[in-house]
């Protein structure tokens, strides 16, 4: 049976792109805290889908799995970028004036973001994946397939993941 070409499947591809691009990007962004990397990997995920020609039977699970594999590859082969610094910033740090109210709000917001980031970073990989995928509205079946867990227990695992995140986040509050 001939495989339909990418062009023939274009309307379905576009539909999937509009439905899932934002979710895959946000998932990767929350997972890594690196928006540029998340954007690159989300695009690469859809390029692979386009080049695949035929659409997968379970597109959600396929997209998550490809995005996760791309992220693993990116992390394991990450070549450090070097950026040389000039003295100006160092001098600034030691002579900054006290923060204005707006700056104080911004600082509080940054601290809050830092606490959420740290809680996510400290979660076990599977629980974090589960929490972030469900937050993007992926179905239990997609989550179970992508994370290789039993679909019948996704609800319980998800409840556990939410509790773990809350506890780690509140630990960070106590630490300050």
């Amino acid at each position: 049976m001939p495989v339909p070409s990418a062009e023939a499947q274009l309307p379905e591809f576009e539909e999937l792109f509009h439905a899932h691009f934002g979710r895959i990007y946000r998932y990767l962004d929350r997972l890594t805290g690196e928006p540029e990397l998340a954007a690159d990997l989300a695009q690469e995920t859809f390029i692979r889908l386009y080049r695949r020609g035929a659409l997968p039977d379970a597109p959600g699970a396929w997209l998550i799995s490809v995005a996760m594999n791309l992220l693993r590859n990116a992390k394991s082969t990450e070549r450090r970028r070097r950026r040389l610094l000039t003295p100006a910033r160092g001098e600034h740090i030691h002579s900054d004036p006290p923060p204005s109210p707006d700056e104080a709000n911004e600082q509080a917001g940054a601290e809050e973001r830092g606490r959420v980031r740290r809680a996510l970073d400290r979660m076990p990989e599977r629980e974090r994946g589960m929490l972030l995928l469900r937050a993007e509205g992926f179905s239990y079946r997609d989550i179970a397939t992508a994370l290789e867990v039993n679909e019948a227990s996704v609800g319980v695992l998800l409840a556990r993941a939410k509790r773990a995140f809350r506890e780690l986040y509140e630990d960070n509050l106590d630490a300050h």
Partner: protein, 231 residues
């Protein structure tokens, strides 16, 4: 019989078979305890999702056409490169070819002077990756090191006074002070999974997740919130 955690979650997420959902909704209408359980779970979830939104960055605007216009797979690229090289080779081989003169001119150009003189460089920044070691090769020449935790994305090492020689490998930053008693500042992203600071063979500071280790005692001391001085 009360509903279990799996059923609570599935009810919240519309993942129950219709027949089961109808039964559970009938039960909730009669059981305040289970109804409270579902309400709490819904409330907790909305709080967790609100916290997750705090770390979001705006999604890039990507048109679907971009996916189709992206470069073709490597085989097509390779074929294009081979073809281009063949054409260029043929043009170069023609006697009196202007391409030959152009190639000679380009390859014999005087080297350009560096844009930024080396002495103006005060530091280096790299993404922390999964594990990064910042290694000072001549600990005896270090005046002090100030360590700060930041919301930045990169580990930054900067000579505050004096000068240093910086280089970056795959999992380490190597810093060699040029002057004696040079002082350095190291800015570590709070989100970095693991960053260590080594003075020669001795690890004096480690950030792993949210925990900070400053052993052996006496080498680094806390100076206010998320600021350490090592020497």
């Amino acid at each position: 019989m009360h509903i279990d955690e799996e059923q609570v979650q599935r009810l919240l997420h519309g993942e129950l078979p219709p027949a089961d959902e109808a039964g559970i909704r009938r039960h909730l209408a009669e059981c305040g305890e289970c109804e409270g359980l579902v309400a709490r779970a819904r409330h907790d979830e909305s709080e967790v999702y609100a916290l997750l939104r705090r770390v979001d960055h705006p999604a890039p605007k990507v048109a679907v056409e971009t996916m189709r216009r992206r470069p073709t797979p490597w085989l097509r690229w390779a074929a294009t490169i081979v073809l281009a090289l063949s054409v260029a080779g043929a043009a170069y081989a023609i006697p009196g070819s202007p391409l030959k003169r152009w190639v000679h001119k380009v390859t014999h150009r005087e080297p350009a002077l560096p844009v930024v003189p080396d002495s103006a460089l005060a530091g280096i920044a790299v993404p922390p990756g999964l594990d990064l070691a910042v290694l000072f090769t001549r600990p005896e020449a270090i005046g002090r090191i100030e360590v700060l935790l930041t919301d930045g994305a990169e580990v930054e090492v900067r000579a505050v006074t004096g000068a240093g020689v910086f280089s970056a490998g795959t999992d380490r930053l190597v810093v060699g002070p040029r002057d004696s008693a040079a002082t350095f500042e190291i800015r570590i992203p709070r989100a970095a999974p693991r960053v260590q600071i080594l003075l020669g063979n001795t690890r004096v500071f480690m950030k792993e997740g949210s925990s900070l280790v400053t052993e052996p005692a006496g080498r680094c001391r806390s100076e206010g919130m998320e600021r350490y001085i090592c020497s």
